[in-house]
């Protein structure tokens, strides 16, 4: 399991736009590098990211090897109801990880 850090405010006003920040530990090996013997290092990256809010998709991203190691992604979310925000990362070699955070409308 990779370490994933997500930053979602615990409470928000209805209709408020909050910033969500996510970071997951991953080497993001590009597939263009070689080891000291000249052997190519196979590509190993996170290719997909999805954010859902109470089951509905908010946004989705496709990553390419040009995304830095430990991919960071920040984006805004309009808070409509209390509920859970779920994040899923998928990638090469069957990589898949899901994290979630609760948000409460006050």
């Amino acid at each position: 399991m990779a370490v994933a850090r997500i930053n979602v405010p615990k409470t928000a006003q209805r209709g408020e736009i909050v910033e969500i920040r996510t970071l997951i530990s991953h080497v993001m090996e590009t597939g263009y590098r070689r080891d000291y013997l000249g052997k190519p290092l196979p590509r190993d990256i996170i290719t997909g990211f999805t954010c859902t809010y109470n089951g509905a998709e908010i946004c989705r991203a496709v990553f390419h090897p040009a995304i830095s190691a430990n991919p960071y992604l920040a984006f805004p979310l309009r808070v409509t109801d209390s509920g859970t925000v779920q994040f899923t990362w998928t990638g090469d070699n069957g990589f898949s990880q899901t994290e979630s955070a609760a948000i409460t409308v006050v």
Binding site: E57, C59, R60, H64, A66
Partner: protein, 156 residues
Amino acid sequence: MKRKSRRQFLAAAGGLALAAAVPSTVTAQLNRTPPNNMPQVIARLVGSAKVNQGRVKLGLPPLVENGHLVPLTVSVESPMTEADYVKAIHVFTDKNPLPEVISFYLGPRSGGATFSTRVRLADSEDVVAIAQMSDGSFWSERVHVIVTTAACLEEL
């Protein structure tokens, strides 16, 4: 000591030449990466539509010290309502081994048409952000970035 015959000498020299040829095949493999084809990739994405300048703000430092970790922010002017929203934001570069960097898909539920991430830049190059609107139009901004330490060049 027995002196080597001409035949033995030539065989040894041939072996040496073969050994010298090995590293050159390694460099040939290193350079095997196909060239960056950003214009074709953008043309495939956009199709016959026109790419307009404006509405997209591409935030990148003008001078990058470390190409491995370059903060990148893209924001697009859009009301983000059901009728008018940004469908996708694509980022491309013209000198990385691959032109594609990230594709970010969003919709009216998003709080705004913006995102931030960190990217790798292999050279001093142009970075292009293209936003695809719900009405089918495309808007873009192109920024030139100077990179002092490039990503992708080091060996382990």
